[in-house]
Amino acid sequence: MSSDAPSPDDPKRTAEFEARIARGDVIEPKDWMPERYRRQLIRMMSQHAHSEIVGMLPEGNWITRAPSLRRKMSLLAKVQDEAGHGLYIYCGTETLGVDRHELLADFLNGKAKYSSIFNYPTLTWADVGVIGWFVDGAAIVNQTMLAKASYGPYARAMVRICREENFHKRQGYESVATLARGTPGQRAMVQDAVNRWWWPSLMMFGPNDKDSPNSAELIRWGVKKKSNDELRQRFVNLTVPQAQAVNLTLPDPDLRYNEATGNWDFGQIDWDEFWAVVKGDGPCNRERMAARRKAHEEGAWVRAAAAAFAAKKRAAAAGAAA
């Protein structure tokens, strides 16, 4: 994907395509689509897949230290699910005519982005529960919308992934609730994790609508159905009562219920921090990329062996057939 510039698409076909979107048709891989639509989807879907893969690192950081065997198994299974989601979305992206190796190369050389939330460190065991609650919770709000996206393979991937994310979120919240009613040490640990993850979780929905250049187009093409700010508000509205239910406070003095709108109003997001993390200066950007590159480089000989073995098998099969 060398350029994001729209290619000159046939205006008549584009108009037909937009009429299909307006009718609520689902676009499938073999259907004609504007080049710009295809590129936007590749960008979104591959970012989503990369996020699943990078997302394995902060939580994976606690697999070996999980404090009970049950929690260890849940966490391992969760991180394994994320690998599965990544694989599944990479396959979905391949339906748009790119292959996984290209996408992976763009990611490893820093060209493709992933969700900024994973550039924050996991400092205590409580972070694992809070990530399940906030980060998976935010992902569900976003993905429930994407499950109705106009591109069929993406929408179907989201339906399946949402089901698993719901499970992860319940598990995370249950872990948080256990800590919140636990010993004073556990309670302090979980409140601290909530304080650290709340604002970065709100940032997961992206810039305010007025600063989000891709949103209008994505909404027009039915990829997104709601704006960043609408989704963020929905997440806040869902999460505030959940925090109250387990007696945890959210670190925002401006958080209050607005009778007129029925929303929970919240304070100002620190957009300087958001953009710093997006541009590579978050607490863990370098570590995350370094970990992925290390795994890739250390695995090179394994992939070479698998490819050489497969080539030998093919040659042998061809020889036998001849």
């Binding site: 230290r65 065997l69 394994q80 599965g84 694989l87 256990t178 795994a295 695995g299 070479a304």
Partner: protein, 248 residues
């Protein structure tokens, strides 16, 4: 007290190896292997959990599986040394998994016939899982052995390095002999030849050499471990021990 002691040997083998495999999660050579190694790790930790719970019950001192996992010292662990060796490269991890899983199948086939009903049940479930672990690792032994010169060298080095830790898997002592005599445990020594046959078959197909039996390291069953185990447990137990009396 011989049944709980025997169950700890079985559970600790699985807990410690499962822990080593879990270290790969997020760092595998391909995404499919992150998933596969996590799967095997989950199976092993699941088996360990059942066996530890059973050990605690048999012991009758009110210890839960988690207490046994998180509040024993290294010298109280009963796993074979091969399980605790650092994960090494992918070739080392696969070679170990292969050698241990082939043993595991043979052992579990017999344990699933144990007169101890709970143990037989766990063994039968574990046997199905272990067959998959053996198949998955044997597939990779073939690919690595017959892949590139580098992969061949790496996996052969791993097999050579691991070989001196395999003898311990087949060791019998008075405790297991007595249990085997009562139809509760199995004679590990009898498993040696079928193990050599199966390992030899796969290594030959992968054009790898089976090392000669030389000096064999031992001691895990009596709590005499490598220095690696203490570090592994320090990491595994840190949170649980930092919050005494906490529920998770």
């Amino acid at each position: 007290m011989s049944v709980p002691e025997f169950l700890l040997r079985l559970s600790d083998d699985r807990l410690i190896l499962g822990h080593r495999l879990s270290e790969w999660c997020g760092h595998g050579p391909i995404l499919e292997e992150d998933i596969a190694l996590a799967n095997i790790s989950l199976d092993l930790i699941g088996q360990a959990n059942l066996l530890l719970e059973l050990a605690g019950k048999e012991e009758g001192r009110g210890r839960t599986g988690d207490q046994l996992a998180y509040f024993r010292e290294a010298v109280e662990f009963r796993n074979a040394l091969i399980m605790e060796l650092p994960r090494g490269d992918f070739g080392f991890t696969i070679a170990r998994q292969f050698l241990v899983s082939v043993f595991g199948i043979l052992h579990l086939e017999r344990l699933s016939q144990s007169r101890h009903g709970d143990l037989a049940g766990i063994a039968a479930k574990a046997l199905k899982e272990t067959r998959y672990h053996a198949r998955h690792s044997a597939d990779w032994i073939l690919k690595l052995g017959d892949g590139t010169a580098e992969s061949h060298r790496r996996v052969q080095d791993a097999i050579d390095e691991l070989w001196r830790y395999t003898g311990e898997l087949f060791e019998m002592d008075d405790l297991e002999r007595a249990l085997a005599g009562d139809g509760l445990a199995a004679d590990r020594a009898e498993l040696r030849e079928p193990w050599r046959a199966e390992v030899g078959r796969v290594l030959a197909a992968a054009s790898l050499k089976m090392p000669a039996d030389g000096f064999m390291q031992r001691g895990g069953r009596e709590g005499r471990h490598t220095e690696h185990l203490g570090h592994l447990l320090a990491e595994m137990q840190i949170v649980a021990r930092s919050f005494p009396g906490a529920e998770w």
